[in-house]
């Protein structure tokens, strides 16, 4: 290729806009060469450059800037966690897309020097009746199972949701939680010049080249497969153990995983953060394919690779560890005082770029515009659904969005690591024990597409509070948040508005909860053809369990326990927007989304935590999708107990979704102390029924339903759909 004439076309072909390319030329004062054009195309992709999101992301209340992953503290421990999306790769190659999604987020946590101890996944697919969606669903779950199980990190919680908006663009968001002593954390910032960059891990191949720019465009519908990386869980497992050993060596100064835009972004970001520059010797990169071009080595997203910055002289110690775990190790560069990036291949200089120019992708600010749909949907009145509640009840129970996800999580090793105290499906959050202490970590991941579609601001606030309620219901105090923003094309005004509103909503809720956003991920361009997904922010939240021996699950425990609704005790019919029953039974999405009243909500959390702490309750469950009737049904099914009570008289009361509600069961001998606590906390409550033996059946006000029938609906729905 002719270097001076061809670079413009090359830049455009690689996804840079003409304006961006002109900007690059202005900054450099010259035309970039071919190699440099490749670097800019990757570093300035939306995925690496956060062009459309960085000004808004600054609104989030953070507690740590620009690290591989953020953390919260529990005693002397740092609980490191982060969520990341692998939506586009999973659409094209479901197994590898999901598998490498896990690999990447595990390495982000690992790079901090933390041992990965739990995985959570938030998955969204199209309608389960659609064979393509089913195929993607099966492949993604299989990929998580294949990779996650093998690396020995338990997959302990998650959510799976089906809606046709995700048909060709599934959402695969994976969150990893790790643990380290806070004093032993490693950071990614290079602090001094003349330190060595060490390549560590698997060899570099051509897989995943342009993965970053691939993630930053809509799927073409043609063959996008070469952009998907391939994972090797055996290397990852070795990399985990090896990295934890390497980071203990005092001469190892900084680390980062080679994620999006591989070697390029890891090296440039490490140096840039330390106000330094660097040199790379690309002939030293371990490769597994012949004749790889230097730019391919820079952009390759081959998996299972880390970049360390080390004190010269520690190479031997690191090499020994690499050999022990069958990994490659090579000194490939050094930091420099001058803030430039220089790359060489066999001493030939390939580039000399100011890091300032390379790393700082332009900040694109598009003024948001409130779309019409927002007003139109908001004004729609609740549908008049005349179906009998009993019918709606069974439709909901067997709907894949409510039915048991056992088919999914039984394929995941959720117990490896020997510390999963609350396993999937038994409570609103999972709990991992911090061994050697009485403490635990509660974790959850949650989103609600229809709700954030109808009202991105209130909907986003709601999912943050919903995640917090998940943690509270097991007896944990919410401590920190990671967010995965899944949105459409950020060049569209409507999407900009959704994104802006959502960020504002998450920010305000996190401030009110005092849970910092420790890190996260933005995924744009989630659309295929003309169909955009629901704007879907996903919230991962981590909380502290003060006493691991005193945690709560949702299953009904003993017949004759009293059942209370705590929190908002009267349904607000004007705020049922996004309720699942309206969509399923009335084919309706619209209306006003409920709003959280902060002081009431925080008081509710305190009340629930108090009754758990003082052993007043036997079961706690937060009321969400499907409303009170479904929440009670889940408690009955899990506990293999019956229920009799009266929760309302109409569909809105049975199935309507409002915020700020919990169901609590109390043994009759604790009734008085429960009532006293509620009045002391000034919290609203209402008695709604009693736990009964399973043989009695389930009756919450619309007639008795047989428990066996309910279990069949609940447990058989997804396996049946998958066997069809």
């Amino acid at each position: 290729m002719n270097k001076t004439i061809g670079t413009t076309e090359l830049a455009i072909a690689l996804g840079l806009s003409e304006e961006e390319f002109n900007l690059i030329k202005d900054k450099l004062g010259r035309e970039p060469n071919e190699f440099e054009t490749y670097l800019f195309s990757a570093q300035w992709s939306e995925h690496c450059g956060y062009k459309h999101s960085k000004s808004l992301l600054k609104k989030l209340p953070v507690n740590i800037e620009d690290e591989n992953a953020g953390y919260i503290k529990i005693d002397e421990n740092a609980i490191v966690f982060k969520v990341e999306s692998h939506n586009h790769p999973s659409a094209v190659e479901p197994y590898q897309g999901a598998a490498t999604g896990i690999g990447g987020i595990v390495r982000d946590v690992l790079a901090m020097g933390a041992r990965p101890i739990a995985l959570l996944d938030s998955l969204r697919f199209g309608d389960l009746k659609d064979p393509i969606s089913k195929n993607i669903f099966e492949g993604v779950v299989h990929g998580i199972s294949g990779y996650g199980n093998s690396i020995g990190v338990p997959t302990v919680a998650g959510e799976t949701y089906f809606n046709k908006t995700y048909s060709t663009n599934p959402l695969v968001n994976v969150m990893c939680v790790g643990i380290a002593k806070e004093s032993e954390l490693t950071y990614s910032k290079a602090k001094e010049h003349n330190k060595y960059f060490v390549y560590f891990g698997a060899k570099t191949g051509r897989d995943g080249i342009h993965g970053a720019s691939f993630a930053s465009k809509e799927l073409s519908g043609k063959d996008d497969r070469p952009s998907v990386q391939v994972g090797d869980p055996f290397s990852e497992k070795n990399l985990i153990e090896a990295t934890l050993e390497v980071l203990k060596i005092p001469g190892v100064l900084a680390s980062q995983d080679m994620g999006a835009a591989g070697l390029l972004s890891s090296s440039s970001e490490m140096a840039y953060k330390g106000n330094l520059g660097f040199e790379l010797y690309l002939d030293q990169v371990p490769i597994r394919e012949e004749n790889m071009k230097p730019w391919e080595m820079m952009l390759s997203e081959s998996q299972e690779r880390m970049l360390f910055l080390i004190e010269p002289g520690t190479e031997k110690q690191i090499k020994k560890i690499a050999d022990k775990y069958f990994l490659e190790m090579s000194v490939i560069g050094k930091t420099t005082y001058e803030r430039n990036m220089k790359a060489y291949f066999n001493r030939e200089e390939l580039c000399n770029l100011s890091l300032e120019h390379l790393v700082n992708a332009p900040n694109l600010v598009i003024k948001a515009e409130t779309p019409n749909y927002f007003y139109v949907h908001r004004a729609r009145k609740n549908p008049n659904i005349t179906k009998h509640p009993k019918m709606i009840f069974s439709e909901l129970l067997k709907h894949p969005n409510i039915a048991s996800k056992e088919w999914v999580y039984k394929q995941y090793d959720y117990k490896v690591g020997n510390s999963t105290v609350i396993t999937p499906g038994n409570a609103d959050a999972s709990v991992i024990w911090i061994k050697g202490s009485d403490k635990g970590i509660a974790m959850t991941i949650d989103g609600n597409g229809p709700m954030t579609f109808l009202n991105p601001y209130e909907g986003s606030r709601n999912i943050v509070f919903e995640a917090a309620r998940n943690l509270v219901s097991v007896g944990a105090t919410p401590k920190g948040v990671t967010d995965n923003m899944n949105f459409g094309n950020p060049e569209q005004l409507e999407v900009v508005w959704q994104f802006e509103q959502s960020i504002k909503g998450i920010s305000s809720a996190c401030r009110e909860l005092e849970t910092p956003v420790t890190g996260g991920n933005v995924s744009f361009y989630n659309e295929s053809g003309d169909s955009a997904i629901y704007p879907t922010p996903v919230i991962g939240m981590v909380g502290e369990v003060k006493n691991i021996n005193n945690i709560m699950t949702m299953d009904f425990k003993f017949p004759s326990d009293l059942v209370y609704l705590v929190g908002k005790t009267t349904i607000n019919r004007d705020y049922l927007g996004g309720s699942l029953y309206q969509e399923i039974a009335g084919d309706f999405i619209g209306g006003e989304v409920d709003k959280v009243r902060t002081l009431f909500e925080l008081g509710l959390h305190k009340s629930i935590l108090k009754i758990i702490e003082e052993n007043i309750a036997n079961a706690v469950h937060d009321v969400s999708k499907g409303g009170i009737a479904i929440a009670l049904a889940e408690m009955a099914i899990k506990g293999q107990k019956g229920f009799k009570g009266l929760v309302g008289e109409n569909n809105e009361e049975f199935f309507g979704e409002n915020q700020s509600r919990f169901i609590v069961t109390v043994p009759s001998e604790n009734k008085e102390v429960f009532l006293q606590t509620m009045s002391k906390m000034k919290m609203e409550y209402k008695k709604i029924g009693r736990v009964l033996p399973e043989e009695y059946g389930f009756d919450c006000g619309f007639g008795k339903v047989d428990m066996e029938e309910m279990k069949k609906y609940y447990y058989d729905s997804i396996p049946n759909a998958m066997e069809d």
Partner: protein
């Protein structure tokens, strides 16, 4: 009395090694981790081959681990009746692949990984691994892709006649022949089982049933 000395064999790709260490400590063993390239005599009373995906399990589960240097010494340890050996999950697969135990472990009948808690019945109550267990049925977690035990009929009869079948599933999760969940060698100093006793060794992580197996091993080694 000095503590019983246990060695947890760690292959690259093992991922239940630290879980085994945790459980052994809780049950009162002294323990070391032994890396797969260990070539000296195994001076231990008890060896634990943990679960995981040794060498990635890319050929067949457990197929590559049998070539590791440490396995030669494990074989000598067994031959010389130096102590007891327990292989769990991938450890069981390694034991069948290396011919120490009969049979083979193939992919689960439904072709999917299964993580669950299962009930296993103790079929041999005299073995060193079960002698001191009072319960007749234990609830123990499983987590495997290849746990479907297969064996030739004549070998099965031999196992049966010689009381080498130690555990059977109550509700067969993976298609194993005759519900077999765990077997011994003919010397009865090696037990291989798919369920993970180390994952249910303390009450917080289950009902504690897994502890009874490790406790039985400890008491046997202390007393006999």
């Amino acid at each position: 009395m000095p503590k019983i000395k246990a060695g947890v064999i760690v292959f690259p790709g093992s991922n239940c090694d630290r879980d085994a260490g945790f459980a052994l400590e809780k049950i009162g063993f002294d323990y070391d981790y032994i890396w797969h390239d260990f070539e000296k005599v195994l001076d231990y009373d008890f060896l634990f081959l943990p679960g995981g995906f040794s060498y990635g399990d890319y050929l067949r589960a457990g197929a590559l681990a049998k070539f590791s240097p440490v396995m030669k010494n494990v074989e000598k340890f067994i031959e010389n009746e130096r102590g007891l050996v327990l292989g769990v999950c991938n450890g069981f697969q390694i034991l069948t692949e290396s011919g120490i135990l009969k049979g083979a472990l193939s992919q689960n009948e439904k072709m999917k990984f299964i993580c669950d808690d299962v009930d296993v019945e103790i079929k041999n109550r005299k073995s060193p691994f079960t002698k001191y267990i009072e319960k007749e049925t234990l609830e123990i977690p499983i987590a495997h892709m290849d746990g479907n035990f297969k064996i030739e009929e004549k070998d099965y009869k031999e196992l049966k006649n010689n009381d080498q079948i130690v555990f059977e599933y109550k509700d067969n999760p993976n298609g194993s022949y005759k519900n077999i969940a765990g077997i011994m060698n003919d010397k009865k100093n090696v037990l291989g089982m798919m369920p993970h006793p180390e994952r249910n060794a303390v009450k917080l992580l289950g009902n504690g049933d897994g502890a009874s197996i490790l406790l039985s091993i400890r008491r046997f080694l202390e007393n006999e």
